[in-house]
């Protein structure tokens, strides 16, 4: 394990930025967000960025290709640019886990090469949490906020940052930082992990369980009458899906620029009235069905297709961002596995 004192963090960042683009959460007056690091920018201590870290691999809009029409010819213009090496610094345990959930979708055969390229070029430096808050429930999904996954895992104490490599990519990054870091044992980290575990056990949502949900439970939950009540005031705005680190739906659109066509993809949301609309219409006619789709996907459909893995990581973003304060925790508590009859 390596260590650097907090007052030297800047040296660490500028060393990384010498060879790769470095992104990290910084505080802004409207919440923390990932920004490209440059001299003077400070790492935020916030737990969640407003937008999740999925943006790095699966951006909200992405130009896929351009077309130019001349007479009867169509020229296809390659616009791809996912070849830059980058480091995302300070990703929390929940967001790191979200990458695995996205990987299973985008890297399944045939792999989505836009996503795959970014994934290959990105190194993830995660940051253990020390002050989990009331909206955190990562432990419901067996995620350990005190010991995240990632290529490099960091622990920040009052005076130092501890770094440990967990993959070849992480090893390579840490080796390149040997000049500014020093060797250390992990005792300070062990101490902190213990404190954080104790804090986790006292969180208001600590006892929330997902056991009732999971693979092959479609029949049990699909027709539950509670969906109507749960969804009754949902605006269908899709905020929950856009801030969610694991939501993965997109649409592909052509934008007529007047002198050509930009084919781009952008996030879509099952909360929208035109989601997966087909010539026969929208398969989910009312907000009840659209709302149900979101939570069934997180808690039942995704696990059914992915060895029981849930596609919520308990980051709590939908808890703090939904305009009507409806969210997956309320859904889980309401449905909680009670049977229909």
């Amino acid at each position: 394990m390596r260590k650097i004192s907090l007052d030297k963090l800047n040296q660490l960042f500028s060393k990384i930025a010498e060879t790769q683009t470095l992104y990290m959460p910084v505080d802004t007056k409207t919440g923390a967000r990932y920004e490209k690091w440059e001299e003077g920018k400070e790492l935020s201590d916030a737990l969640n960025t407003v937008r999740s870290a999925k943006d790095f691999f699966f951006p909200q809009t992405e130009n896929l290709m351009d077309f130019k029409m001349e007479g009867k010819n169509i020229e296809i213009i390659d616009t791809r640019n996912e070849a830059e090496d980058f480091v995302i610094f300070g990703v929390r345990a929940c967001d790191v886990k979200s990458f695995e959930i996205l990987d299973r979708v985008f890297l399944a055969d045939p792999a989505d090469s836009y996503y795959e390229n970014r994934r290959n070029h990105g190194t993830i430096v995660s940051m253990a949490c020390t002050r989990p808050v009331e909206t955190c429930f990562c432990q419901t999904f067996d995620i350990d906020a005190a010991s995240p996954e990632g290529d490099v895992v960091c622990h920040k104490t009052d005076d130092a940052l501890y770094l440990e490599a967990k993959s070849d990519k992480g090893e390579a990054l840490l080796n390149s930082l040997n000049d500014v870091t020093e060797d250390t044992d992990g005792s300070a980290v062990d101490e902190q992990v213990k404190t954080v575990h104790e804090r986790m056990s006292r969180l208001p949502l600590a006892s929330l369980s997902a056991d009732a949900f999971g693979a092959d439970k479609t029949k049990e939950f699909f027709d539950r009458p509670e969906w109507a009540e749960l969804s009754q005031s949902c605006l269908g705005c899709g905020t929950c899906t856009f801030v969610c680190p694991t939501c993965q739906c997109y649409d592909i659109k052509d934008f007529n620029t007047g002198h050509g066509v930009k084919r781009f993809r952008c996030w879509d949301s099952c909360m929208y009235s035109n989601f997966t609309k087909m010539s026969a219409g929208q398969p989910r006619l009312t907000q009840v069905e659209r709302f149900r789709q979101r939570f069934m996907h997180k808690l039942v459909y995704y696990p059914t297709n992915n060895d029981g893995l849930f596609s919520c990581v308990g980051c709590g973003r939908c808890l703090s961002k939904c305009p009507i304060q409806m969210n997956i925790v309320k859904v889980m508590k309401k449905l909680g596995g009670k049977s229909n009859d």
């Binding site: 409207t30 919440g31 737990l47 407003v50 937008r51 909200q60 809009t61 002050r131 808050v133 009331e134 804090r199 006292r202 969180l203 208001p204 949502l205 009540e229 009754q232 005031s233 605006l235 269908g236 705005c237 899709g238 905020t239 856009f242 801030v243 649409d251 659109k253 934008f255 007529n256 930009k262 781009f264 952008c266 996030w267 879509d268 949301s269 929208y272 009235s273 035109n274 609309k277 808890l319 961002k321 305009p323 009507i324 304060q325 409806m326 969210n327 925790v329 309320k330």
Partner: protein, 330 residues
């Protein structure tokens, strides 16, 4: 103004259910942490007793919910309206968006609603909250109990409350207030003083954060089109995300134009925006311009009012006046 207690609201709701005046109640439902209340329909006295909340977080404006709710069933729905909500209520009625006969409206006096984000500037965790006189007591995980003056935590629209007077109701709980002398146009005036470049920069910075979730539109009581032009696949502007930075701004500017003269300045758009974009400033700019060009006009203040924009008077401002004003600011 007297403080209205939860008991008064739930007793009113239970009475109106019991005597058959209404068969359901639109109210705020308890969540996990006191601040996360959800709009909900209550069907029985038991449900009301259990989960009905009236506290400093009941900001949601129910007027728009009436558009859909009044289409369900034959009975009346009871709705509780804060003063600002009654303007939206009137405006929707003026636009014939719901059947007045299907609603029983009870006005509730309001001292302002708290913005939980302001609490979160003081502490990172909020487990529960009590209101104690003029203070908000926040129980946290790591900072102990914090007692904060509620006045300092009010949401922007409540700091700049335009009216404590209810302009529509069947029945009023407590005493009515007055139209307020608010500073709600101060920030607009500040923006007007900027150079066009500075102003562009200001809005570019704000609107570039937009994730196009459309929460602002979906919550807006002036946005009740059956099919929004931005959701219509037949329209060239239908996009789920802006294709470029021009589109980012276009959505908001078009939306602001679409609600001119109908926006009551209820503040819901800014309240719900996950990116904290001060959308109310766009709408207030239009309101301020209308006030200055056509004389003071408050949408929703009088049932059936015609907004200057859709009305014609001989002495209406000429388009050239707007251009001249623009030149002055340039």
């Amino acid at each position: 103004m007297q403080e209205i207690k939860r008991e008064i609201l739930i007793n009113k709701a239970k009475d109106l259910l019991a005597d058959g005046t209404v068969d359901r109640v639109l109210g705020w439902k308890a969540g996990e942490f006191d601040y996360d209340v959800t709009p909900a329909v209550f069907n029985s006295a038991d449900e009301i007793e259990g989960d009905f909340v009236w506290n400093g977080f009941c900001g949601a404006n129910f007027s728009k919910y009436l558009v859909k709710e009044t289409l369900k069933g034959d009975g009346k729905v009871l709705v509780f309206l804060k003063p600002c909500d009654t303007y939206s209520f009137n405006q929707l009625l003026t636009e014939h968006r719901f059947d007045r006969e299907k609603v029983y409206a009870v006005g509730v006096p309001c001292n302002g609603m708290v913005d939980v984000n302001k609490i979160k500037e003081e502490t990172d965790s909020v487990v529960s909250i009590d209101f104690d006189g003029g203070n908000t007591v926040v129980h946290t995980l790591y900072d102990g109990d914090l007692s904060l003056p509620t006045e300092k935590l009010l949401s922007e629209r409540c700091v700049n409350c335009k009216s404590k007077k209810h302009v529509a109701y069947d029945e009023l709980l407590g005493e009515d207030g007055e139209v307020c002398d608010s500073g709600r146009f101060d920030e607009v005036a500040r923006l007007e003083k900027m150079t066009p470049d500075e102003r562009f920069e200001f809005w570019q910075n704000e609107l570039s954060r937009c994730i196009r979730c459309n929460a602002c539109r979906d919550v807006c009581p002036a946005c009740t089109c059956e099919k929004c032009v931005f959701d219509n696949p037949e329209s060239p502007v239908e996009n789920k995300a802006p294709a470029n930075s021009f589109e980012e701004k276009m959505f908001h500017i078009i939306r602001a134009f679409h609600v001119v003269g109908r926006c009551t300045d209820c503040g819901e758009c800014s309240r719900v925006c996950p990116q904290h974009i001060p959308l109310h400033l766009l709408n207030r700019k239009f309101i301020k311009d209308i006030d200055e060009l056509y004389g003071e006009y408050q949408a929703g203040s009088v049932l059936g009012n015609r907004a200057p924009i859709v009305d014609y008077k001989l002495d209406d401002a000429e388009p050239s006046e707007a251009v001249e004003r623009g030149d002055e600011n340039a």
